[in-house]
């Protein structure tokens, strides 16, 4: 009799403690998951730049188009017959640089990093050139930029990092 009762007590103790620990243990991953929203109301990652002819005037050399910077944080740059999309996000700690067309320099207001018009860093704490984004011709024949795919300077010659005009 006496033994039986003790066994039941131990069983209930394990059950109680076990379910308590399980609840507490589970609540941690659940809370973390809760804080990762399923749906984001952020800007879509792709946008249309235009028809290839729009960006192909007869001039040569390097040209920075600022038209998409305000809305999408992207500079479209034409260098010879190459077209690429520079991510307007400083490679130091992520502020948005400004382009000074007369000097041909991108300057970051946060800690003074500077980049040439092709994105090459030459002053300040930025550790690498400005990153580039995937640029391609979509099914409708439009130049499209995908801001979710990033290329760092080692991959600038990879397919997708630039378009041949």
């Amino acid at each position: 009799m006496e033994k039986d009762r003790l066994r039941r007590r131990t069983f209930l103790k394990i059950l109680g403690l076990g379910s308590f620990l399980a609840t507490v243990g589970l609540s941690i991953p659940i809370t973390v998951r809760f804080l990762f929203p399923r749906v984001l109301f952020e800007r879509p990652s792709t946008f249309i730049v235009g028809r290839p002819d729009d960006l192909n005037p007869a001039t040569t050399g390097l040209r920075v188009y600022e038209d998409w910077k305000e809305e999408y944080g992207v500079w479209i740059v034409r260098e010879g017959n190459r077209l690429y999309a520079i991510n307007a996000r400083c490679t130091h700690l992520g502020c948005t640089p400004n382009y000074f067309a007369d000097e041909g320099v991108f300057k970051c207001p946060c800690h003074g990093s500077q980049f040439r018009s092709n994105g090459l860093n030459f002053a300040g704490p930025a550790p690498r050139p400005l990153d580039r984004l995937r640029i391609y011709i979509n099914d409708d024949g439009m130049i499209t930029v995908d801001r979710a795919r990033l290329y760092t300077y080692k991959d600038f010659d990879r397919k997708g990092a630039y378009l041949k005009l």
Binding site: F36, P37, L40, F41, E42, L93, G94, P109, C110
Partner: protein, 252 residues
């Protein structure tokens, strides 16, 4: 007692008064103990304080001043909440509104801001005094640990509060700071040895998105007005309780 008015005597003799205050004013040992022990706030305090604990040149009263500034933050913060809305559309507009139109809004914001700055300053002086007087040594080593937690909570309060005005300074400061967080090893997507992308790392967890937007503002707000202050108050209570239980240190 005799020269008190009849009204005063009636109040003090009434059932209502006696139900709230169970002790008198007499300066007797028993009554002093009663005064402290029958008060939920004061009972964290020791009944008797040794003389040396009053020596301003020993404590600098820096812990006390820090606590006072925290109370200033709670008060002014609660008043700010009457006019502040944590959304990208309204936050900065409310700042301007507080600044130019709300009666006493400007001084309210400035009190909140300067007390926050001062609080960091006095916390550091408090730590310095505890260090210089060797008060962190046993048996008080655990209270030093609690103190470090309180310092971190205060710094996080400043950090989360900084985004709330939603102006250029706050936006870019939080951009830089959260990008630093995103560069942490393993848990940040730009950090070394990390397998995460920018939608699954620690920075995303903090911002509630891959960029600083309404989710980030709301998260910082909730941390700033509920989570951190309440956690801070709990740790402060333990901090003060430990000062009492360990006994305040004495000068040599």
């Amino acid at each position: 007692m005799e020269n008190k008015s009849a009204l005063w005597r009636w109040i003090k003799g009434s059932r209502v008064y006696k139900s709230i205050f169970r002790h008198g004013y007499e300066d007797t040992k028993k009554n002093r103990i009663l005064q402290i022990r029958s008060n939920v706030f004061l009972h964290i305090h020791p009944v008797k304080i040794p003389d040396h604990a009053y020596r301003i040149r020993f404590t600098w009263c820096m812990g006390g001043i820090t606590f006072f500034l925290f109370l200033v933050e709670v008060m002014t913060g609660a008043f700010l909440m009457f006019y502040y809305t944590p959304t990208p559309e309204q936050a900065y507009r409310d700042m301007l509104y507080l600044r130019y139109d709300v009666p006493f809004g400007m001084i309210l914001r400035n009190m909140h801001r300067w007390a926050a700055h001062l609080m960091i300053f006095t916390i550091i002086l408090h730590m310095l005094r505890v260090f210089l007087t060797g008060s962190y040594k046993p048996p008080r080593e655990f209270n030093w640990v609690i103190g470090v937690t309180l310092l971190v909570i205060t710094l996080l309060l400043s950090f989360t509060g900084y985004l709330l005005p939603w102006d250029q300074l706050s936006y870019w400061a939080i951009t830089v700071a959260t990008n630093m967080i995103g560069a942490m090893p393993f848990i940040g997507h730009e950090g070394p040895l990390s397998l995460l992308d920018r939608y699954h790392d620690i920075r995303f967890l903090i911002l509630g998105g891959s960029e600083i937007g309404s989710n980030a503002l709301l998260r910082f707000y909730v941390m700033h007005i509920i989570v951190l202050p309440v956690t801070g108050m709990i740790f402060m209570a333990v901090h003060f309780w430990r000062v009492r239980k360990d006994g305040i240190s004495r000068p040599l």
